[in-house]
């Protein structure tokens, strides 16, 4: 039976229909890293623990991918089916700034500092009929999750 599957293992888990980003925390200096890695680039300590990163943050910078990326490696639709998408860094407070697709691709609707929350973003359907998804951030809806 077709499922929703992550674009790769070890980047995020899917919990209740939402992505949970998988990061590392340096047990010596508290530096947060994404994706998971061993070895801290700040303090050079080699012991890190696995953590789950925050699901909300603020937009630190952004752009809009207006032309189709080369495929491969891109898994999403290209050619006439290409749909522009936003790309940004979302600052997860006290943790790290994470690069992500944004669900919004309209410059008038993106502002540095705006509140964002994480969602799943479908990329393609694989040969077995599974929907392949990545993570993305979307502006937090008024009155919704803060």
């Amino acid at each position: 039976m077709p499922n929703t599957i992550a674009v790769a293992d070890g980047i995020f888990n899917i919990v209740d229909g939402r992505p949970v980003l998988l990061g590392s925390r340096c047990t010596n200096c508290d530096n947060h890293m994404f994706p998971r890695q061993q070895g801290c680039p700040r303090c050079m300590f080699d012991q890190q623990e696995d953590i789950e990163l925050a699901s909300t943050g603020t937009l630190w910078s952004w752009t809009i991918q207006a032309f189709p990326p080369k495929a491969p490696p891109y898994l999403g639709p290209v050619g006439e089916d290409f749909v522009p998408y936003g790309v940004g860094y979302v600052e997860l407070p006290g943790q790290v700034r994470v690069e992500a697709r944004l669900t919004v691709a309209d410059p008038d609707q993106l502002k540095i500092g705006m509140a964002m929350e994480i969602v799943l973003e479908p990329l393609t359907v694989d040969d077995d009929g599974n929907t392949v998804v990545t993570y993305a951030f979307t502006p937090t809806s008024p009155g919704g999750q803060s």
């Binding site: 674009v7 700040r42 910078s61 752009t63 490696p73 891109y74 790309v87 943790q95 410059p107 990329l123």
Partner: protein, 379 residues
């Protein structure tokens, strides 16, 4: 540091050359550099060369001469050409050789660079994040937010590049373009339009370097290396193709390489007469003006408006049209900047000659995954 001199320079025209391989262009550049100082390949005591997409540079010996010389291949992203030069300089300074040649060439497919993911993780490219263009868009978006740079200033940089390219016979794009045409071109990665970006391209550059005390044996107009530095990123810098960035902020490898170069040369930014700064896109030139120490952050807005970085301005920047007008063959690009500065210091830059006999010239390259190289040359 004034014990190394550049005595011969050679370039193959940048642009698109159907039927000509990257290696072909490297060979042409080598022959032109040798001819420029009246030397033969057999006179070269060593070579250092690199390309990203056109094969191992050392294989060119089967065409230029099997003389048995030590030939080192280098690959260092956008700093490949600069690294070929700095390794050549170090070889001379070490006393291991009196004269040798630095070579860079490349030929890339059309369109943005095809990049898989950092550390080979396909999720990054698969998700549509492995594009250098996105980084440039996001870095300048943040910079505009912090320092009040406008999109008009981005267009001014591109229009200047195409004006300068139009009077450079080696450049790829030699048609002037107005600021409005730049602004009206296709939006690729907000706020950067098609003509604010350079394109991966083709070309080759080579230069013969030697012990400074022997330079006059090869040319009556040697150009001396006052500094050549290279740095990688420190923790907290914001770099291309990074799935995450630390909350700590760092000025980045360009600032580090620039400071080290000025220290090595014993001069400051105010002493530079002409500068070639990495302009992968318009925003990069603007940000690199400040990162290299030529102005404070935000001052670029009025500097561009006042024409201060034009060929006849206070600090001419990218007098040959930069990456924007020349395109970026990765292996050759850093050496192109040095080639232009040698022409400027010799007084051989023709229609784009910086007035008043420039004496000190500066180059800067930047590339993935956060590297920067600087040279300072003088007559």
């Amino acid at each position: 540091m004034s014990d190394v001199a550049i005595v011969g320079i050679g370039m193959h025209e940048f642009g698109r050359h159907d039927g000509v391989s990257g290696m072909d262009m490297g060979v042409v550049a080598v022959r032109r550099a040798l001819a420029d100082c009246g030397q033969q390949w057999s006179d070269m005591q060593f070579a250092v060369g690199g390309s990203m997409d056109s094969g191992a540079a050392d294989t060119m010996v089967s065409r230029v001469g099997l003389t048995g010389l030590p030939f080192t291949n280098v690959m260092n992203g956008c700093a490949t050409g600069g690294t070929a030069l700095s390794q050549s300089i170090n070889t001379i300074k070490s006393g291991a050789a009196d004269i040798g040649i630095a070579i860079g060439f490349d030929k890339h497919e059309k369109g943005a660079f095809r990049i898989k993911g950092p550390r080979g993780k396909d999720w990054y490219g698969g998700s549509g994040l492995a594009l250098t263009t996105q980084f440039f868009g996001m870095k300048i978006t943040r910079y505009m937010h912090e320092y009040g740079i406008t999109q008009q200033t981005l267009a001014r940089v591109a229009a200047k590049a195409f004006r300068n390219g139009a009077i450079n016979p080696m450049a790829w794009r030699r048609k002037p373009m107005s600021e409005q045409e730049v602004l009206d071109s296709l939006m690729l990665s907000w706020p950067l339009t098609q003509y604010m970006f350079c394109s991966p391209g083709e070309g080759g550059v080579a230069m013969v370097v030697c012990r400074a005390d022997k330079a006059k044996e090869y040319t009556d107009r040697p150009i001396y290396l006052k500094a050549a530095t290279m740095r990688t990123r420190q923790f907290g810098s914001f770099e291309v193709l990074a799935p995450s960035v630390a909350l700590d902020r760092n000025a980045g490898p360009t600032s580090d390489a620039a400071k080290a170069a000025f220290e090595m040369a014993g001069i400051g930014p105010q002493d530079i007469d002409v500068a070639q700064l990495q302009d992968t896109e318009s925003g990069a030139e603007i940000m690199h003006m400040a990162e290299n120490g030529f102005c404070e952050h935000g001052e670029q807005e009025h500097m561009l408006a006042n024409g201060e970085t034009e060929i006849n301005g206070r600090l001419p920047v990218n007098t040959d049209g930069g990456c924007l007008a020349n395109g970026e063959p990765i292996g050759a690009s850093g050496l192109r900047q040095v080639y232009e500065n040698v022409l400027q210091l010799r007084g051989d830059a023709g229609k784009r000659q910086v007035p008043n006999n420039p004496k000190v010239a500066y180059t800067h390259v930047y590339g993935a995954p956060g590297i920067s190289g600087v040279t300072i040359l003088s007559r």
